[in-house]
Amino acid sequence: MAQMPLVYVPYATTAEGRRAIEYAANLADSNAKLRVLLSVEPPTSAERGLVRDDVVGVARTAAPRLFGRARRDEHDAFGMSVGDARSFALCPNDILVGNVLRRDDANVLSPQDEFLPGEHGLMSAFIPIGSRASGRYAVEFGLPLLKRLGCMRAVFYHTTYRKPRIASSDPVDHMDPGAVELLADARASAARLGFAVESRVEAASQVVDGICMAALATRCELIVMARGLEQRGVGYADEVVAGSPVPVLVLGRFSEVSR
């Protein structure tokens, strides 16, 4: 049986920290467990209690279903862990929430300026795919994780350069064979998992701009990407995080994938 994802968020009383806690609580509302990260040595039981009260207080107003589950101690819906968000060991089934957090070994979700994953929870995910391994990784690893979070619609996006020797104005006719195969596999994988599947192929002038604008146009609540496996330095995923109004989940690189 698939495990419920764990949504981690660093505990902070700063304004950005409060927004991240609210987003994480909403994300975990029905389909995940919330874990608050305390970045110090194990605090006293009194401190633990006060932190719990504080976060559950946020959940009471922002994420009532999580609050209800926490009250009933249902499936260990809420908990605390000690660790630095920059180095805490995380599994493939975990998500770390926070802006300006970059980790290659963890799934990091940047909520941007949103409090809610969506009006009715996380319903739609936008998954850019190219023709490289990072796109296939995003499909094979990201889709099951999204399904566990309650996502029901997947929009695959691909942008291609127009080939001068091809007369057609349809961008689909300009796709590389590898991209065509990957898109077909992605659609099939998503359909098997029960997603409502859509795809969008464009000839955008800039990849990052195309991704951001298409995510807005398709009304998706979350962009899901993987970093290029051969990437060094800043890549498309980092540029999308910096330039997208839509929240972005950048998948970590794990040796084994949790299904």
Binding site: Y11, T14, A15, V40, P43, L216, G243, S244, P245
Partner: protein, 416 residues
């Protein structure tokens, strides 16, 4: 195909070409109906002929409007010259109203009165309609029926041609005129049915009754044209439905903190929407919000304001700077920093200023002034302490709110 026919075919596929065909159609109709109606003393048919005469003016206006729409906007006329269309629509509406009342309604009413009250001789002597109609049972009525029915069929065919060309060339005024041509066809069919009924039943007043009905339709058409022209000249709002729809689309966009204003109005043939929203995101993100919203609003206007060209202005302004200042009462010594609840042992205030992101700095407490003075000078709204909040709440006399935090370790609280 010869070059002439090829060019003719190409011309007939343009907005100018289709409107030339429309004008030719109306010219034939005006001559036939006004001539026949005058000879037969039939206000219904003559009135419809005059209606078609105003349609010629309208078709000419559409041609001029198409030409003007091609003039590029410039600094002096940022909307181009589309506004002229509203003025000409106003004149056409007035002309149609005059024709409806003077040329159709008045004679028809007198005709009805004549049929019902034959004693009203002095009034009937003032107008030609006092002459009894010659559309009696027989060949005249049959001819009238053929004229009206043929006219109706031609109107329907030409309207489809207009709408097809207008849609393909992107000229909404041509499409709108095509719809009016279709409406005219329906009126003509109604008139033909009326003539046929009169011929079959033999009652002369049916024609005058239909003339009154035709006048009502003409007045209603004139009212629509005048109202539309007035809306464009006076920049009337596009309506609550449009405003609410645009506002909902803006609020549903990621990154939009709030909608400052939505202003919609007509300007010439344009449906204009000016939308201002707030965002806390960076320039690259807000630029994308702006482009996305502009496309959404343009799509919405195109859907709701058929026949109008959408013109959208979107502005993303920084959300009001919610500068929040809060502080933590702290003791800083050789063992490190910790949050305390007693200002007698505190050495610093950890001051946090949030304008988007949070800036943190340690401010030492000085003995020459009180904690309250120091907090007020720095506009601190909340002081966080670890422990009992009551003593300091009383000391600060409610001027600064005091709240408790779960830990004395700033790191656990996320304070860098």
């Amino acid at each position: 195909m010869s070059p002439f026919f090829s060019k003719a075919r190409e011309f007939l596929g343009t907005a100018y070409g289709v409107m030339a065909v429309v004008i030719a159609m109306y010219l034939v109709k005006v001559v036939a109906k006004v001539g026949f109606g005058t000879v037969m003393h039939s206000p219904m048919i003559e009135g419809d002929g005059w209606h078609n005469a105003s349609d010629i003016s309208q078709a000419a206006l559409v041609i001029v409007g198409v030409w003007l729409a091609k003039r590029p906007a410039n600094r002096e006329y940022p909307f181009g010259l589309r506004g002229v269309d509203a003025v000409w629509s106003l004149l056409i509406g007035l002309m149609l109203l005059w024709a409806a009342v003077v040329n159709v309604l008045a004679p028809s009413l007198l005709g009805v009165a004549n049929a019902v009250l034959p004693a009203d001789a002095w009034a009937r002597g003032l107008l030609r309609a006092a002459e009894p109609s010659r559309l009696d049972a027989g060949g005249n009525s049959l001819l009238a029926f053929v004229i009206m029915l043929s006219s109706a069929l031609v109107s329907v065919a030409v309207s489809r041609y207009q709408i097809g060309v207008g849609t393909r060339t992107g000229h909404q005024s041509v499409v709108a005129d095509g719809k009016e041509t279709l409406g005219d066809g329906k009126i003509e069919a109604l008139a033909g049915v009326g003539v046929a009924a009169q011929w079959l039943v033999g009652w002369p007043w049916i024609e005058y009754g239909l003339g009154v009905l035709m006048a009502v339709v003409m007045v209603r058409t004139a009212a629509e044209i005048l109202t539309d022209a007035g809306d464009r000249l006076l920049n009337r709002s596009l309506g609550v439905l449009v405003d609410v729809g645009i506002r909902a689309a803006a609020e549903a966009t990621c990154g939009v903190r709030g909608v400052v204003s939505v202003v919609t109005y007509r300007r010439g043939t344009c449906a204009v929407a000016e939308v201002t929203v707030e965002s806390r995101l960076n320039a690259a993100q807000t630029a994308r919000i702006e482009r996305h919203l502009a496309a959404c609003v343009r799509e919405r206007l195109t859907e709701l304001e058929e026949g109008s060209e959408p013109y959208v202005i979107v502005r993303v302004v920084p959300a009001p700077i919610e500068e929040v200042r809060y502080a933590y009462l702290a003791r800083v010594d050789a063992t490190g920093r910790r949050i305390v609840d007693d200002d007698r042992i505190a050495t610093h205030v950890i001051l946090c200023q949030t304008v988007g992101s949070t800036r943190v700095r340690d401010v030492p407490l000085r003995g020459d002034r009180s904690l309250l003075e120091m907090l007020e000078d720095r506009h601190v709204s909340v002081l966080y302490v670890r422990g009992d909040v009551r003593p300091l709440s009383e000391a600060l006399r409610g001027k600064v709110r005091v709240a408790s935090v779960p830990s004395s370790d700033p790191r656990l609280l996320g304070i860098p």
